[in-house]
Amino acid sequence: MKGKVWKFGDDIDTDIIIPGRYLVLRDEKELAACVMEGCDPEFSKKVNKGDIIVAGKNFGCGSSREHAPIAIKGAGISAVVAESFARIFYRNSINIGLPLIEAKKISGHISGGDMVEINMDKGILKDLDTDEEFEIKPLPDFMLRIMKEGGLINYLKNHLKEIKEE
């Protein structure tokens, strides 16, 4: 996975990602048109398919609104890299198939506009502009399975009987 970086700070909350007044919407494209409006109203126009968000700590804190990861995914963002994630946002993203990547101390080292390459299997993120490499924290096995099967809904379709009988 390779993409251009959009840089954000610490504690990017779900009201910044998708303000409350848009929660009546459910369509991925409609939500994407308002994504990150809380800090950059033009963001949805500037972002291109495959771009990557890099942020500081506690990304996605706040509400349980799944509209937040849906809006990010709908805008074409291929992954969010952050120093840490808020808990509900983390689950929601994996559930809908938006890759989240945790990497320590990354925020101070990568600049907006850089190209980065992510190799999940090797557990490495590389800034192609500076050649700096960063170790990324692997997803827990169980989440990796959900991610690999294309999100929780698909996972449930495939395993409903086992889960019910467990």
Binding site: E66, P140, K164
Partner: protein, 418 residues
């Protein structure tokens, strides 16, 4: 094995005798709550799975609170989707737009009892831990899984126990305690942890006050808030619920337990300043700050005790003409009792606007939004940029007492100086 309350509840729910923080388990869900705003996505995801019937309609509770009455065609549509789902699935525990905010309605109507696992598609579901349940917010897709299977996976959290001691000064409240804690440990200070509140101060608190503490556990990243059930809990449940329950308590020598001691004897009223909940200052540092709107309400501080506190301060005075004040009782029960006690008359006579029980401006999606450059002082739980309307507005958070004194003076005011 010594375990925390959170570990014990999750062990019971997953059919394990023992559990330790860090393990991943599949838990049986006792209560699954959704509301008018995140409900439609949950229903949509559930329908994608292809299962026709929910696992147990009796364990699902649906509350309309975020956009009631509907303020747009989109909101009306969302309500229609949910009403249809309720009918199709035979869900009895359905509270259409008259009951109030979900986190007040569920405990009031006896849906939550100690020892249960409660999930809701709302991050403040942690509020219900005040009754000794393991309660946590989840997303819509997770809820779809619960609807289909009655189960959900959890990573068993470690526990931070806040051992709170001391006596609150006059006009200092549970809200000031929790704001102070969040200010100290930060917006991600308890990420993934169960936040248990204990100590003599917590034991002396009412259930409403304990709800205030648990409600804001999420604002420090907590997975749930918890208070050990006691006689007050049992008393609260009387006449509300006839569900069987099991009281579980944290063993002091539990391995995953970290204890933080807090003494609140000297605590003064606290304010969370824009734009983060952990940007907390004592009221003395922000006194005199200009405000345009005061909001008394929400699942944090829209309860009867809050309305009483505020009415006592406001009685016989006028709301400053530079300020508009919205009073939104958290539920129909609160509204009705406030009416009986004459509190609503006090508010109306002073020039405040009293609205129907709902979330109101708390999430900036329904009524009472604020414009660019405006400042809100709010008794709710979040002050993120854009939370109550314009991204160029500011939100301060406080107790009901600070909100009421400030509404009268037209600027942020220490209620102790009134």
């Amino acid at each position: 094995m010594a375990m925390t309350m959170a570990e014990k509840i999750l062990a019971k729910a997953s059919g394990n005798k023992e559990l330790q923080a860090g393990e991943i388990i599949m838990a049986n869900i006792d209560v699954a709550m959704t509301h008018d705003l995140t409900g439609p996505l949950s229903v949509e995801s559930f329908e994608k799975i292809g299962t026709k019937k929910v696992w147990d309609p009796e364990k699902i509770v649906i509350v309309f609170d975020h956009q009631v009455p509907a303020d747009s065609i989109d909101a009306a549509n969302n309500h229609m989707i949910m009403r249809k789902f309720v009918e199709k699935q035979g869900i009895q525990n359905f509270y259409d737009m008259r009951e109030g905010v979900c986190h007040q309605v569920l405990p009031e109507k006896g849906h939550v009892v100690p020892g249960e696992v409660v999930v809701g598609t709302d991050s403040h579901t942690c509020t219900h831990g005040a009754l000794g349940a393991f309660a946590t917010g989840i997303g819509s897709t997770d809820m779809a899984m619960v609807f289909a299977t009655g189960k959900l996976w959890f990573k068993v959290p470690e526990t931070i126990k806040f051992d709170i001691t001391g006596k609150l000064q006059d006009n200092v409240f549970a809200k000031d305690v929790i704001l102070n804690i969040i200010g100290k440990i930060g917006a991600d200070g308890a990420t993934y942890k169960a936040c248990e509140f204990g100590g003599e101060t917590t034991r002396n608190m009412t259930i409403s006050d304990r709800m205030v503490l648990c409600n804001m556990a999420i604002e420090m990243g907590g997975k749930t808030g918890l208070v050990e059930p006691d006689q007050k809990t049992i008393h609260y449940l009387k006449g509300r619920s006839n569900k069987p329950y099991k009281i579980m308590k944290t063993d002091n020598n539990a391995q995953s337990l970290e204890t933080i001691h807090i003494n609140i004897n000297e605590l003064e009223p606290q304010i969370a300043c824009p734009h983060n909940v952990d940007n907390v200052k004592p009221v003395s540092e922000v006194e005199g700050t200009h405000i345009d709107q005061v909001f008394l309400g929400s699942c944090t501080n829209g309860r009867l005790s809050d309305l009483r506190t505020a009415a006592k301060i406001i009685k016989g005075k006028d709301i400053s003409k530079n300020v508009r004040m919205l009073v939104i009782p958290a539920s129909r029960e609160v509204y009705s009792k406030a009416m009986d006690e004459g509190l609503l008359k006090t508010f109306v006579d002073s020039g405040a606007l009293v609205c129907n029980p709902c979330c109101g401006p708390c999430l900036g999606g329904h009524i009472g939004l604020i414009g660019p450059g405006e400042v809100s002082l709010s008794t709710s739980n979040r002050n993120f940029k854009g939370r109550q309307g314009s991204s160029d507005a500011e939100v301060y958070l406080s107790s009901a007492a600070v909100a009421a004194s400030s509404a009268v003076k037209g600027k942020i005011t220490d209620p102790r100086s009134n």
